[in-house]
């Protein structure tokens, strides 16, 4: 279709560097122990900062409305849904993402247990679930069934039916308790 291609080319606008209408805001964050100083558009969400600016793509987006928890990260030790926080709100914060769960290149205990218990299938929800588990076990090393369900109530998994996730969290709790 040479004719249309030529026409299409004429309608093209040249590439431009676009400055946002609102000035970027400088922020400093520490992610998985590493400090970053950067300037972000005020409307950018924390999850966009992590995925787009810092290339930490282990944190996922599933629902855009704080339901599914695929974007769960730890913000100053507390689990938050990073799709519901502006990047500027994280200024000065300490953030842990799934990429920060490894210890010296080895799987962290929660990661290992999730694997051992077949607690994942497609793996899209898994980072968020492991961080919610981390949060639970840092406060409660003997969670009962209800505690476990509540802790991950905000993490949707469409593959596993949660059964093996329940199991993994119980096993992880035992291993944390056992040292």
């Amino acid at each position: 279709m040479p004719k249309t291609a030529a026409k299409a080319k004429r309608s093209l606008k040249p590439k431009e560097i676009v400055e946002p209408a609102i000035a970027r805001v400088p922020i400093t964050v520490r992610v998985n122990g590493r400090p970053y100083s950067l300037a972000v558009e005020p409307r950018i969400l924390l999850v966009e900062l992590l995925r787009e600016a810092l290339d930490l793509t282990g944190t996922h987006v599933g629902c855009d409305t704080t339901y599914c928890g695929a974007c769960t990260v730890l913000l100053n030790g507390a689990s938050v849904k990073s799709c519901t926080i502006f990047a500027v709100q994280a200024d000065g914060a300490e953030i842990t993402t799934v990429e920060g769960l490894e210890k010296d290149g080895q799987l962290g205990s929660i990661q290992k247990v999730f694997g051992d218990c077949y607690a994942l299938q497609c793996g899209y929800c898994t980072p968020g679930l492991m961080l919610s588990t981390y949060q639970l076990l840092s406060h409660n090393q003997q969670p009962g069934d209800k505690d476990i369900r509540k802790a991950i109530a905000g993490n949707t998994c469409r593959c596993t039916g949660y059964q093996n996730i329940f199991k993994a969290i119980q096993v992880a709790a035992r291993s944390v308790k056992g040292g």
Binding site: M1, T4, A5, A8, K9, S11, L12, K13, K15, E16, V18, E41, R43, I44, R51, T57, G58, H60, V61, G62, C63, D64, T65, T66, Y67, C68, A70, T97, V98, E99, L107, K112, G115, D116, Y118, L120, Q121, C122, G123, Y124, C125, T126, P127, M130, I148, R149, K150, A153, G154, N155, T156, C157, R158, C159, T160, G161, Y162, Q163, I165, F166
Partner: protein, 817 residues
């Protein structure tokens, strides 16, 4: 089978996929960035049915950072309408990925904007002004069939397809029936399994080589490229599709080819820059694909004295939304399980599919069969209750018996194996049937409503695409196939590629288990390529991951390729070691796996073999030149083209089965149904990896429980979708998911090389089971569960409002002398 090694197949081998997924290093489509990439945002219709008067993109194009826009009017002259699978008159539908003259469902894409960043694309999309003239929307399939408001003028009707599936002697069976049950209306609701990862497409129409490149998460790419090549007027070999890790599909991601088309066209318009489109959840909910909604009218069931069903007649109306697209395959796919798990021989189903002003439907876990299986389970339970026969006894009287396998159904499908009575016995035992019966009686005395329900279902896998010819005799599809490649690479690595497109089913693991047994090595030594890539050249026109088939089609292809490789390795080793082929043994030496000449005490390792073929080939005599150690194998299913007039023939290779039992209590004050206990028993023949199978069963169970109690796509009377976010749609969470007791049996399939049956979809067993349990809880109050979706609101309307589900209005029993 030549290799009887079962060191790895059948074991719960940890999954090979875990290493990257647990570390957050999975490679999902949205993780990919390409130089010069632009971001695409769709402008979507707020109306369900309207004429497009004007699309004004000038303000959007004036925004700094916006590179261009695209409208339906612009792409119409550049493309062919998408292929329609159905026959006339619906073959006349002109389906373009952006609406041209009309919009036909809320959320239909009308225009696209391209910008330097996702947020600029968002901003610009809001500046596109579209003028509409409202048209009458039709959201109900039966209403649509009156053709008072037509969606597609070129077709002239909203009816997509109608066909009568009649087998046996229906009239005779009704004449001789001892009792007849009439059921006025049953309805299977619209829902979607909503994978957690939305659709994502990166598309580039590269002007340098005039190829189209896709990095995406479509789950049936070999089908998508057939549609795209015809639509975009490009040779199919110039479309490369790659997928990587996919965050679930459940069939839904088969339907992303229209958006793939837009990305290619947009890239062309943008001079070849790659275009990324990341679907939002609301876009997914309103405009991706939903499962088929189906209404069952005027059902008549003939039974003998003992409650054995002898005939069923019924009229089924299926709602496929605004565009048939992958449909009308759903008009015939249900007939893979025509009699369900039951023995009746006489039946007439009059099946019609209609278009409505709602989101197009697409394959969704349990696709087209679950609706029909739910219908049959409802029929069985309603008859049981009308006749006063316990639900378990009713089933035992009607189940196909274990000794009858392989069982030919009235429409010519061959059920490979199964033992439904045994599954029922196991399920009853696991749930504690007798105790629950006692508890139920006690609870009823206290005024508590506890119901016990059974659901038996089938998961038919590896389908015969010849079924498409029942819908359209001119459809050029039949059979089924899958490809795989198994090679010994230059340094001796075993590398496997398959034409499947996994989304969490663990194909890398199970493929490695199969090859490990063929070569007698550890699966750790086998690398299985991730995702799908047309350039691996292992796909056929049926390659993808859908319809519960990997264990059969995928692993048969892998097994075939591994056997070929093994044969070549043996031949080459015999030559090198100067011995006979039957002297060669596959073993393990100090340097890893090797081939030994048993009588000569010599051996050669994998590197040695690969070295000769790849980079040291002068040592090979000409008669060995055909050895490549790079073996492609195409497995083909042994199907025939069905008799399209009689609608008769084998439509599926394997029939996995599931039997679930649920105990449910309905809260008397709040009407909330609560699951007290749940059992799932599975039979998928010989199991390749029990941990993966168990995981699939749990997942399908959660989807089914969610669908039965929480998840429904709600439209208002004018076609506004009311459940367009997860907060409205409420996918099942850890708070709602009961603990599932799991049991399984293995009835090996005589139809697959390994005895395995395809599984994973699960046949929506919980939907059947929960309807049955709710009915059991309520039947003494004269209520029949007539819809597959039930929540507190439904139950309130039935129990207090008496608006719906009243047995005396819906069901009539005729007893003959």
């Amino acid at each position: 089978m030549k290799d009887n090694n079962r060191n790895w197949v059948g074991k719960p081998l940890p999954r090979k996929e875990e290493g990257r997924l647990l570390r957050g290093r999975g490679k999902f489509a949205d993780d990919i960035k390409i130089r010069e990439m632009l971001y695409l945002r769709f402008v979507r219709s707020p109306y369900a049915h309207a004429r497009i008067l004007k699309v004004d993109t000038s303000r959007a194009e004036g925004l700094p950072g916006v590179v261009g826009t695209l409208t339906g009017k612009q792409i119409e002259p550049l493309t062919q309408p998408f292929i329609e699978i159905g026959p006339e008159p619906c073959a006349k539908i002109r389906d373009f990925p952006l609406a041209v003259d009309k919009v036909r469902y809320q959320g239909e894409p009308v225009a696209a904007v391209l910008a330097e960043s996702p947020s600029l694309a968002d901003d610009a999309s809001e500046l596109v002004q579209v003028e509409y003239e409202g048209l009458d929307p039709v959201v109900d399939a039966e209403q649509a069939l009156k053709d008072e408001s037509i969606l597609h003028e070129s077709a002239g009707t909203n009816k997509v397809w109608n066909g009568v599936f009649e087998y046996g002697d229906v009239e005779k069976a009704f004449r001789e029936a001892a009792q007849i049950v009439n059921i006025d209306r049953l309805h299977f609701h619209r829902f979607s399994s909503t994978p957690l990862e939305n659709n994502v497409v990166i598309g580039q129409w590269d002007p340098k080589d005039d190829h189209i490149y896709y990095w995406c998460n479509n789950s049936f790419p070999s089908f998508a490229i057939q549609f795209l090549a015809a639509h975009l007027n490009i040779p199919i070999d110039r479309i490369r599709v790659q997928t990587f890790d996919i965050g679930g599909s459940f069939g839904i991601k088969i339907t992303s080819y229209p958006q793939m088309a837009v990305c290619a066209l947009a890239s062309k318009k943008a001079g070849g820059r790659p275009i990324k489109w990341v679907e939002t959840r609301s876009e997914h909910m309103t405009a991706s694909a939903h499962g088929n909604e189906r209404t069952f009218r005027d059902t008549r069931v003939a039974l003998d004295q003992d409650g054995v069903i002898t005939a069923i007649t019924s009229r089924h109306v299926d709602d496929c939304g605004a565009y048939p697209r992958y449909e009308p395959l759903g008009c015939v796919i249900w007939s893979q399980v025509f009699p369900g798990v039951y023995r009746f021989k006489n039946a007439r189903i009059d099946f019609t599919q209609a278009m409505t002003n709602k989101c197009p439907v697409g394959p969704n876990r349990g696709y087209s069969r679950m609706q029909h299986l739910w219908f049959l389970e409802r029929v069985v339970d309603i008859c049981a209750h009308e006749l006063g026969i316990p639900a378990d006894q009713m089933r035992l009287r009607n189940y196909i018996r274990p000794e009858e396998f392989p069982y030919t159904t009235p429409n010519g499908c061959v059920y490979d194996s199964g033992d439904y009575p045994k599954m029922l016995a196991i399920a009853k035992n696991l749930i504690g049937w007798d105790e629950w019966k006692k508890k139920q009686a006690e609870a009823r005395k206290q005024g508590r409503l506890i119901g016990i329900g059974i659901g038996t279902t089938l998961d038919s896998g590896t389908n015969n695409f010849g079924q498409s010819q029942i819908v359209n005799p001119h459809a050029p599809f039949s059979g089924n196939s899958q490809g795989a490649n198994c090679k010994l690479d230059i340094y001796g690595e075993v590398v496997v590629a398959v034409g499947s497109c996994p989304q969490g089913q663990g194909h890398e693991t199970t493929a490695a288990q199969v090859v490990a047994d063929v070569l007698n090595i550890s699966p750790d030594l086998i690398s299985v390529r991730t995702g799908f890539d047309t350039e691996r050249n292992v796909h056929t026109g049926f390659s993808g991951t859908y319809a519960s088939q990997f264990a059969v089609s995928g692993l048969s292809a892998v097994h075939g390729a591994a056997q070929k490789l093994k044969a070549e390795m043996k031949r080459l080793a015999a030559f090198v070691l100067e011995t006979q082929e039957d002297d060669i043994e596959f073993g393990r030496g100090a340097q890893g796996p090797e081939l030994r000449a048993q009588t000569k005490g010599k051996s050669i390792n994998y590197w040695g073999l690969a070295n000769i073929v790849n980079v040291n080939s002068a040592v090979l005599p000409p008669e060995m030149h055909d050895i490549t150690l790079n073996c492609r194998y195409i497995w083909r299913a042994p199907f025939k083209v069905p008799d399209t007039k009689k609608k008769y023939g084998n439509l599926t290779m394997t029939y996995a089965s599931q039997l679930h039992i649920a105990i449910i209590e309905i809260d008397r004050d709040a009407f909330i149904p609560r699951i007290l206990d749940y059992v799932a028993v599975d039979d998928c023949g010989t199991v390749i990896n029990p941990a993966i199978v168990e995981g699939q069963v749990y997942g399908a169970t959660a989807h089914g429980i969610g669908a039965a109690l929480m998840e429904t796509c709600v439209y208002d009377a004018v076609g506004n979708m009311l459940t367009s976010t997860f907060s409205d749609y409420t996918p099942i969470t850890a708070m709602n998911m009961p603990k599932v007791k799991y049991g399984h049996i293995e009835t090996p399939s005589p139809h697959s090389y390994s005895g395995a049956k395809g599984m994973g979809e699960g046949g929506a067993a919980p939907v059947h089971t929960i309807s049955a349990a709710l009915q059991d809880a309520l039947f003494s109050s004269g209520i029949i569960i007539g819809d597959s979706f039930n929540n507190a609101d439904t139950l309130f309307r039935a129990m207090v409002g008496r608006e719906i589900y009243q047995a005396d209005k819906l069901v009539k029993l005729e007893r003959r002398a």
